[in-house]
Structure formats: C-alpha cells, structure tokens
C-alpha cells in the first residue's frame, strides 16, 4: 500500500521585495529578492501515522502544508497525497483531506455559532444527516464542546474556537488531516483535549495526521518528527533520536554533604547554576566516563547527585542559537 503522503525533492521560492535604504521615498527604491522557502525537501507519511512538522518561524512549515494541500504548486519536485497530485486535483482531493489552519485563517463564521458552520460543512461534503448526527455527537464528547458549539463564535475563547475549528475540518471524516499550529495561544486543558482527540481519531478511524508546530510539547502526540530549518529538512525520525541528534550536553546536579562547598573537586563542563552546597553543570555526554566525574560522584563528600537530560525545548533553543551564531547562510538565494 503506497504512503498517504509522498514528498520528493520539493522546492519552492517566493518573490519578495526589500527597500534598498531608509528615508521618505525608500519604498520606490526596492529590490526584488527570491526567498527559498523550501529547498529539496523529501519525506513520506504512512497511512495512520501522526507526523509533527517542527521548525521555527520562517522555516518553511506553512509553505510545506500549503503545497501538500494543493494551495501552492512546487517549483520543483513531486507531491502525492492519497495517490493524487494535490495541485492538479485540488477539488477532488479536498474531499479526503481536512485542514485546520489554527487561529490565522479561521473557517468558522465569526458572527454565527459553530453549529451553523458544521451544517454548512455537512452539505458541502455531502455528509448524510444520520452520519452528521453521529459524528457531531462523537466530536462533542471527544472535544467537550457541548456548552459552546451553539454560542456565537466571537464569544468563544481561543481554545474553544480551536476545538470547533477542528470539528469543522474533520466532520467529513477525511483520510488525511493537516493541522497548522493548532495549539498556538491555546490554554493547557484545550491543548490536552486537542492532543487526545488526534490520538483517538487515529485509533478509531485510522486517520493520518501532519501537524505543524513550533510548540515542542505538541510533538509528544507524534509518532515521528520531521524538522525543517530555512527550507531544508534537517531531521526525520522519532523523538528520542531528535533528542540524541541535537543534544549538546546533559545535566549533572550535585548536592554536597553538610559543610562541604565542592571546593577541591575538579569539575568540567559549564556551570548552569551554583548555590552553597549545590551545583548544576552542563556536561558533554562523552564526559560520563571521565575519571573526574567518577571521583566526584563516588566521594563521601557528595550526599547526592543526579544526571538528567535537558528538556527538548532547551535542546532546540541551543541548537537554534548555535545555528544563528554560525550565520544566516542561504536564506536569500539571489538578487534579481
């Protein structure tokens, strides 16, 4: 059985304009720039898989999903979604895909309650009244929206709106679902609800999900992570592999015995924090077998110690800042 999504060597450039200088008439002195939004990206998604597309702002995530959903056409490469070309067969493929655009491009009618949009979706996708009733009941329970779906959309909180956006995108039970940053600005209970719904929909109906996010916490719901940086794929694998790939250090916390300050011990690595009787170090994973560490943790002057992994957010933050320090290579392709 072929994959649900196949992206092969996809590139996409955009024309942008930049003022050459400042001043009152600078808008008339602009130069055209070609920004490489996607640069030879390849990956695939199996049927029933949940994949998180991770990357910071401007990494190419949104361009990737707009290409996958047929809104944009790649300059080079090939995209197949459920066996179809999403650009050429846009109207046909929309019957089998669902897209949640987050808060940026809402699908709910602002002045009407979400239930009106749900009924509109029912008719647009040709869902029978019986199926509609069953599915709506299922989503109301799953996303806990019984008290909100008949209220005017503009009166709902962002979290409530996002849950209803999700229903509007999924009522036709698509085979493949794309969610573009669905949890941005959403409170914790709503975020948990959305994540639970994604897992449940996959389990019950075998839906395939591609979820773009730069909220690291979201990737816990994913089977696999694809990471983009400046239009290029820099990672494709499981969460543990992501941690190992980008982890630069591990954390060593040492608590010294009463009256001991830690002076006299040879310690390497970077001091993250220090207070009387305690020290927190960032050490390289390769240092775990070092003699200085063995001596430190086996000393009777040390009451307790703990070695832990830094959070994924910290790992990625360090990775991004190191990329930035190295310079902005190849963001801008060429002046024309």
């Amino acid at each position: 059985m072929p994959n649900a999504v196949e992206v092969e060597n996809v590139s996409k450039r955009f024309n942008t304009y930049e003022n050459k200088d400042t001043g009152l008439f600078s808008s008339f002195r602009r130069k055209k720039k070609v920004v490489r939004a996607l640069d030879g990206v390849s990956f695939s998604i199996k049927h029933g898989e949940i994949v998180a597309l991770l990357g910071r702002n401007g990494s190419g995530k949104s361009t990737m999903i707009k290409t996958i959903t047929g809104i944009l056409h790649p300059d080079a490469g090939r995209v197949r979604v459920l066996g179809l070309d999403p650009w050429r067969d846009r109207q046909k493929i929309t019957m089998d895909i669902g897209v949640v655009f987050g808060a940026t491009h809402p699908q709910l009618y602002w002045n009407l309650p979400p239930v009106d949009t749900f009924e509109y979706v029912r008719d647009v996708y040709g869902v029978s009244q019986k199926d509609y009733n069953e599915r709506l009941k299922f989503f109301i329970g799953l996303l806990d929206i019984s008290k909100v779906y008949k209220k005017q959309t503009r009166q709902l909180s962002l979290g409530e709106r996002m849950k209803c956006e999700m229903v509007a995108a999924l009522l036709h039970f698509p085979k493949f679902v794309v969610m573009d940053e669905p949890t941005i600005g959403v409170d914790l209970p709503a975020r948990i609800g959305i994540k639970r719904a994604v897992r449940e929909l996959r389990k019950r109906y075998g839906m395939t999900f591609l979820i773009t996010t730069h909220v690291v916490d979201d990737i816990s719901m994913a089977d696999r992570i694809v990471m983009l940086e400046r239009g290029k794929k820099i990672f494709d694998g499981k969460q543990e592999k992501l941690r190992n790939t980008f982890r630069e250090y591990i954390i060593l916390e040492v608590k010294f015995a009463d009256g001991e300050s830690g002076k006299g011990f040879r310690m390497k690595g970077r001091v993250i924090s220090s207070e009387p009787g305690r020290v927190k170090l960032g050490i390289l994973p390769s240092m775990l077998k070092d003699e200085w560490l063995r001596k430190l943790i086996t000393s009777d002057k040390v009451e307790d110690y703990r070695i832990s992994e830094p959070g994924l957010s910290s790992i990625l933050a360090r990775f991004y800042s190191s990329r930035d320090r190295k310079g902005n290579e190849a963001d801008v392709d060429a002046d024309e």
């Binding site: 955009f14 024309n15 942008t16 939004a37 361009t63 707009k66 959903t69 047929g70 809104i71 944009l72 056409h73 846009r90 109207q91 046909k92 929309t94 019957m95 895909i97 897209v99 655009f101 940026t104 491009h105 809402p106 699908q107 009618y109 002045n111 009407l112 009106d116 949009t117 009924e119 509109y120 029912r122 008719d123 647009v124 996708y125 040709g126």
Partner: protein, 273 residues
Amino acid sequence: MRPMSMQTNKLIKYRALFRISFKDLLTWGWEAVLSSLMLMLYAVIAIIVWIAIYSFTGVKSINGVGLTSTIIYFAIISALMPFLSWSNTVDRLSSDIRDGDIASSLIRPMSYYFKIFFEGVSGSVFNLAVSIAVIALVIHFGGLTPSVYTYAMFAFYFIIGFLMAELLGFIIGSLAIYLTDIYGIMVSINWMITIIGGGMIPLVFFPAFIEKVLLLTPFPFLAFVPAATLSGVISVGESFGLAAIGLAWLAALAIIAYVMWIKLKTRINAVGI
C-alpha cells in the same frame, strides 16, 4: 457529461453557501437595512439637485424629459443602488487576499470563483427585498403603467446589471494581489457609474452623440439602462436595441474575471499567502 448526482451535489453545496452567507448577513439585522437605505440616500440627493436645476432654469423639460419623469428615474435609481452595489464583493475578495484567508476557501471542494459569486448573491437577495419594495412604491405613487414588455426588459437589465456588478467586483477585488490599496480604483469606478453610467445625470440629458458613445460602455447597465427602461425615459424599442451591447459586456467581463482568477492563482503561487 457529468452524472446527475454530481450536479445535484454541486447545487446542494452552493445552496448551503448561499444559506450560511445569508444567515451571516442577517446577524447584522438593522445595520444591513440601514446600509441599504444609506445607499438610497445618494439618489435622494440627486432628486433634490435636479428639482433645484429645473426650478432655477425654469425649463419644463430637458431633451423631452420633464421634472416628474426625472424624479421617478432617480427614485428607481435609489432602489437599484443597493442591489447593484459591487463594493461588498471587492471588500470580501481583497480582504481574503490580503489576510491570506483565501487559503481557508481553497481547501473546500468548491470553486473559489463561484464561492465569491454565491456570497454576493446572498448579500444581494437581502437588498433585493428592499429594492422591490421601493420599486413597487415608485410604480404605485409615480403613476407608472409599464407594459409587460417594459417589465420584461427591466427584469432582463436588472439581472444583467447584477451579474455585471458581481463580475466588476471580482475584477477590482482581484487587483488586491498587485496593489496594497485599491480604494482609489473603487472611487474612480463609482464616479464612472455616477457620471457616465447615469447615476447622477440621465444619459438622455447629454448631446445625442455623447449619449451614444456612453451607451457603448458597461457603466450605464449598472444604473441608466434599467432605470430609464422602467421609468419610460427610453422606449422599450430603444431599450431592446441595447440588449446586445449589455450581453457583449457581460461576456467580456466574465472573460476578464476568469483571466484575473487565473492570474490570481498564479500570483498566489508566486508570492505565497
């Protein structure tokens, strides 16, 4: 040929779109009615201006059109204004492009081109009720006795005018992909309709050769032609003679709108949304 069920599904889709757009409009209730009435105010001003002109100059008629006929003409214009307004389509389309909300429409299994059209229809149906009520009052109190042919020609130009307004709105709105601010263009087109379309001066008041030239443009079909037909400012025969020009412009605008749609898609693809 497509199977009947597919055609039925399409009808259901666009009916659903019409329904929700109309319902959305109704949430504004009295604000929407007020907006329609404000558009009519413009023609009321024209009536006041022409009463002043007839009174000041002391003429009984201009090119055979008396004050009463002029007042009736502008009363009909006031009824047409809300229905033949094209600025809502421009607003919808341009904001969709500027804010990137067009993406939300492109992921639905329907043509964006027709989506905009049906949203326009739902908005106009609301105004249609107001227009019909005003026209009925004008016919009753204006003492008009239109023939069946006059009604038929008026209905024909009413529909032609509506379709032209929607297409014009689509074309101007599409320009938002190239221009940050299309307000200036909207104002210019409105002036065209006002001055050379018969919104402020009935075209029969111009010298004959200028009137003939102006009738070759699309703008009179958004004001002068339907209003002059019903008010009797032009005869049914003259009105019938303009049908070919109206249909030709309708076809031309449909082609231009379609080309703009293709350009729009290409441009969205080139610059992103």
